[in-house]
Amino acid sequence: MISQEPLLQVKNLTKLYAPEKGCEAIDFELYPGEVLGIVGESGSGKSTLLNCLSGRLIPTAGEICYRNRDNQWLNLYALSEFERRRLLRTEWGMVHQHARDGLRMGVSAGANIGERLMAVGERHYGDIRARGLQWMQDVELDIHRIDDKPTTYSGGMQQRLQIARNLVTHPRLVFMDEPTGGLDVSVQARLLDLLRNLVTHLDLAVVIVTHDLAVARLLAERLVVMRHGHIVESGLTDQVLDDPQQPYTQLLVSSVLTP
C-alpha cells in the first residue's frame, strides 16, 4: 500500500511554551492516503503539534516539508505567508474540534462550503452552488438547509459542514483535532463512519488528533503516542494498542480498557 515517496516530512520539530509543555524533537513521515493518529493524555502537546503541522503555529525549531501536487518539496515555514495561506485553502484542510473555529457562523451553509472555491477564484455562482449541494449530499446533510446558518445546525451537522467546507477544493491532506469530541456516542459513530468512507474514496492523507483510542483504532493506520511533548511510541495502530511497548502507552491503553 505505502510504497511511494512521503507526502509530509517532519524533522526535529519543536515548539515549547515551557519545559515539556508543547512539542519537542518530533520526527515522522506521512505517506499519501495514510491516516496517522496522534494520541496522548490531555496537555501532552497534541494540538500544539497539529497546529505547527497545519501552518498555524510557527515552530521554534525543526522543519516541515510537504510534497505538493506538482511534486515539489515545500518547506512550510520557509514559504511566504501568502503561499502558506494558499496551500492551506487548496491542498490542505483543517477540521477543528469546535465548529465555531472552523466555520463562519454568520453566513449560510452554502456560503461556508463555497468560500474556498471563491477564495481560489471561482466566479460562477451557479457552479459554486451546485458544488455546495453536491457536498451537502456527500456528507449526508439535508440539501434543503443549504441557505440556513450553521448556528441552526446540531453539533454533528456542524462537523459534517466543516468537513464539506474543507473537502470542496479536493485537498490531499487534512488535519483534524478531536473532530468527534463533544458529540453524542451515536452521532459520533455515524460521523466516524462517514469520515472513514470519505478518506478511502478520496484517497486522503489525514493527521487526526484524539484522546479517544477507539476513534484512533477505527480511523488511523498508524499511531504516534505523545507524552510531555515527546513521541514516546509509534507504529501500526493494532500493534501499538494491542502490544504496547512503553510503560506509558501500556497505562494509556489499560485506562481505556478499564473504565
Binding site: E81, F82, R85, R89, R104, G106, V107, S108, G110, A111, G114, E115, R116, M118, A119, V120, R123, H124, Y125, G126, I128, R129, I146, D147
Partner: protein
Amino acid sequence: MNAATIRDGYNFAYLDEQTKRMIRRALLKAIAIPGYQVPFGGREMPMPYGWGTGGIQLTAAVIGQDDVLKVIDQGADDTTNAVSIRTFFKDLTGVKTTEKTREATLIQTRHRIPEVPLQADQILIYQVPIPEPLRFIEPSEVETRKMHALEDYGVMHVKLYEDIARYGSIATTYAYPVRVNGRYIMDPSPIPKFDNPKMDRIPALQLFGAGREKRIYAVPPYTEVLSLDFLDHPFEIQRWDETCAICGSDHSFLDEVIMDDQGTRSYICSDTDYCSQRVQQEAVA
C-alpha cells in the same frame, strides 16, 4: 495670499502648514498604491465627524488660491452640509466656489459622483464614513490589514453569494465593493452602485478621506476600478422606469420626492447642477 478674504487669525484653509504637508505625504503614498488605505494623523476639525471631516481635511490640504471649489451632498449643492462646508472654505481660503461641475477644479462630495464626466484637471474628494470593506466580516484591524496584504479576499464574494442565495440577485446597492488596479479591494464610500462605473479609468484624480478612522486612499487617473460580481450574476447599475420630472432625463440617478400636499410622488435628478444645466440648455434651444 489674499489675506483680506480670509477670516482673521486663521491659516489658509484652517489647517496649519505642517499638518497639510503631513496629509499631502499620506496622499502621495495613497496615489502610489491605488486603493490602499494609508493611515494619517487626522486632525480635529471645527465640525462633527458626521459632516465628513476626512474629506474636509483632504480638501484643506490640497486646495490652492486658484482652485474653484464645488461641494455636494447626495448630489445637491444646497443641503445644509454642502452649504456649511462651502462657506467654511470660502471664509478660510477666499477661493471661488461654484455649483457647476464643469467649472470646478476641486469637488468635495458625499454619496454621489456628478453625472457630467470628470476631466483631467479635476480632483474628486470623497467623504468616507467606514473605509474598510472587509469590516463586515472581520472586526479586527490587524486581521483586515493582513487580508489586504495577502490578497485574501474570498470573503468578499461570500457576501455577494449570500445576497444571491437570499434575494436572487446581488442586493448591495450602496458602497458596492470594487477592486482597484487588479489589486486592492476598496470601499467606494456610500455612493450608489449607479456611480461605480464612473470611477473606472477616468481622467480625474479621486481622493478618499475617513476622518474618524484616520485613513486616506486614492484612485489615480486612468486606473481600473471594477465592481465585484459573478459571471452568471454580472454587476448592474440601478435603472428607473421614470424620467426626471424637471429636466426629463432618462439616464441620471433619480431621487423619489413628494411633490405636493396630496403626496404625489415624482422622480428628479439627484445631481441638482446636472438637472438645472439641462433645463437651461432646453430654454436656450
